[in-house]
Amino acid sequence: MELKEDQPQNGSGPAADVPPLRRIVVESETVPIRVGDYAGPPDPNYGREPWQVGAGSEGEPVWVEERMRTEDLSIAYGDKRAVKDVTIEVNSGEVLALIGPSGCGKTTLLRSLNRLVELTPAAKRTGRIILDDQSVDDFDVTQLRSRVGMLFQQPNPFPMSIFDNVAYGLRERGSKKPRKKILEPIVVDALERAGLWDEVSSNLSHPALALSGGQQQRLCIARSLAVSPEVLLLDEPCSALDPISTSIIEDTIVELKSEVAIVIVTHNLQQAARIADRVAFMYLGDMVEQGAAGQVFGAPREERTQDYVGGGFG
């Protein structure tokens, strides 16, 4: 609520033709203060670890900017606290991996970011989740979820044609269904970005469920991308897939990170090491440690982190 007073008066968020503004929000008891709206061209390496420079898909530097943030976020299912006082940032231009043993609250944290956790009746939340300087509670849930897309453990295309799957989000979010002519370029673009276009371009009317598991998961990526999200939440997207499909999906994720902020929950530490720029380790609901991937895996500060990643990396 306090943050709202800090909004620019002319509209919501930065204008599209100006490079994204860096907002430094200083947390304090009172109103947060924003320092400097625009100070010359953005420094792509601002706030990054030295090893992160040039981490883009084609070796170009990637502009890292905060998209989402949680502040002292706790989530409880009845009496059981699944996530305890977690404060974490989600930045565009990088992949954030949430790691930790089963039942440590990673998935709950992930599902709280698009308020999907509210589907569980007993879930209660304290603390704040902020998307582009605005609490997620201020968004209409429809709008929030089209800005924060999600991919699940099991590929879950709908029992429709490939085209209808990708167009689903666009068709169903408004009251008026757009024409196929308008949808088509968006669908094609989403399929291209998800790396599926070449395989399905000739059979868009075929049933989506006839695709292989890996193709289905990429179709789900395309379905999320079609509504142009700013953040993409991936809940162990490769756990049901074979190694080849996994590596294709990992490549897709790395390619996407320059346009979409990506958070991935994974049990596979090698996967986290391969694709993540920043890693957060959770244990029993606590955010134990977060930092650059190289640091968390190479030189963990916490003993618990060391014990966990040590198991995977010797």
């Binding site: 429809t142 709008q143 979820r145 089209s146 879950n156 295309p157 709908f158 029992p159 989506a208 469920l209």
Partner: protein, 339 residues
């Protein structure tokens, strides 16, 4: 080495034994299945052969209208004993019309009501309510139709006669038909109550079988619960809705006792031009006609006429099954292997 070869021999023998048992079971089941098929084929053939004279004497006019169908049936019943003097003259339209009208309207109302109740039970009902409704619905699906008929004739018909049929209304159609409360309105009403539970039970089971991940996927795209239900779950269960529709229509088509009790049991074709009175006019579908005239079957031409009604019902249900199969096939095009 030796032990291994012993095992091999044993295994082979076991496999042979299993094969023999399998083959016996296969033969037995195959024989049973073919017997049932033969019985059905025989029954259909028998009915059609028996029904043939009624159709051949009337030609296509059998399906038309003309005169009072009850009078015609009476004449057939009273035909002279010599086969060459048998009376077959029949214009069955009022009976066909009543069958189509009562079944059609009841099924249409039921399908809408059942889909909505199914959604409510699965998606929106509080747990305690759901635990009460579901067993009750399944129980209702098994209630014998004569009980519905009894309640209909003891409660609903008098109510309709008392509250909906005024003297003026009675007089307005007195020259063609007498209004006493037994009517297509009561028939459709009770038939709807009768077939809804079957449809609800099937739809609830189907909705529950819709993978949670589809609903979640829709929610994650920002689609609200009701819309996700409509665009994903309901789409996915269309084959089950068709199956429910076929089953309910078959039950409605074949419903004889209850309808003969509450729908008036008069071979009359209600006239839609009568306005609301139309719903209060009596009618009698084919199945009820057969039941009501069961005692006259020993009169040869009369029996053949009843077989003709049965043949029409058989054709309708066969056509219904085929249409249902075709619809299910086209609807499950996208669900293949998706469950």
């Amino acid at each position: 080495m030796e032990a291994a070869s012993f095992n091999e021999v044993d295994l082979q023998e076991q496999t042979l034994e299993v094969d023999r048992t399998d083959r016996r079971v296969e033969l037995l089941l195959g024989a049973l299945a073919s017997t049932i098929l033969l019985l059905i084929a025989g029954m259909i053939l028998f009915v059609f052969v028996k029904a043939l004279p009624s159709f051949t004497h009337n030609g296509l006019a059998w399906f038309g209208s003309g005169g009072s169908v009850d009078e015609q049936l009476m004449n057939i019943f009273n035909s002279p004993a010599e086969p060459e003097n048998y009376v077959y003259h029949l214009r069955a339209w009022p009976l066909l019309y009543a069958t189509i009208l009562i079944t059609g309207v009841a099924v249409l109302i039921s399908v809408v009501f059942s889909v909505l109740s199914g959604i409510f039970i699965v998606e929106f009902a509080p747990e305690r309510l759901r635990q009460t409704i579901e067993p009750v619905v399944k129980l209702l699906a098994a209630v014998p139709s004569v009980i519905y008929g009894l309640i209909g004739i003891l409660v609903v018909v008098p109510f309709v006669a008392e509250h909906l049929i005024s003297e003026a209304r009675k007089e307005s159609v007195a020259y063609v038909i007498q209004l006493d409360g037994t009517s297509i309105l009561v028939g459709v009403f009770i038939l709807t109550i009768m077939i809804c539970p079957i449809m609800i039970a099937i739809i609830v089971d189907a909705l529950r079988a819709v993978p949670e991940k589809w609903v979640e996927g829709a929610a994650a795209l920002g689609v609200n619960r009701w819309r996700a239900m409509r665009t994903v779950s309901l789409r996915a269960i269309r084959p089950a809705i068709v199956a429910a529709l076929v089953l309910a229509t078959a039950r409605a088509l074949g419903e004889a006792i209850m309808l003969s009790m509450v729908a008036g049991s008069v071979g009359f074709a209600p006239n839609p031009l009568d306005g609301f009175t139309f719903f209060l006019e009596p009618a009698r579908p084919l199945a009820s006609t057969i039941v009501d005239n069961a005692e006259g079957l020993s009169v040869a031409p009369f029996g053949q006429t009843m077989y003709a009604f049965a043949a029409i019902l058989l054709i309708s249900s066969a056509f219904l099954s085929f249409a249902g199969w075709a619809a299910r096939k086209s609807f499950s095009r996208y669900t293949l292997g998706g469950r």
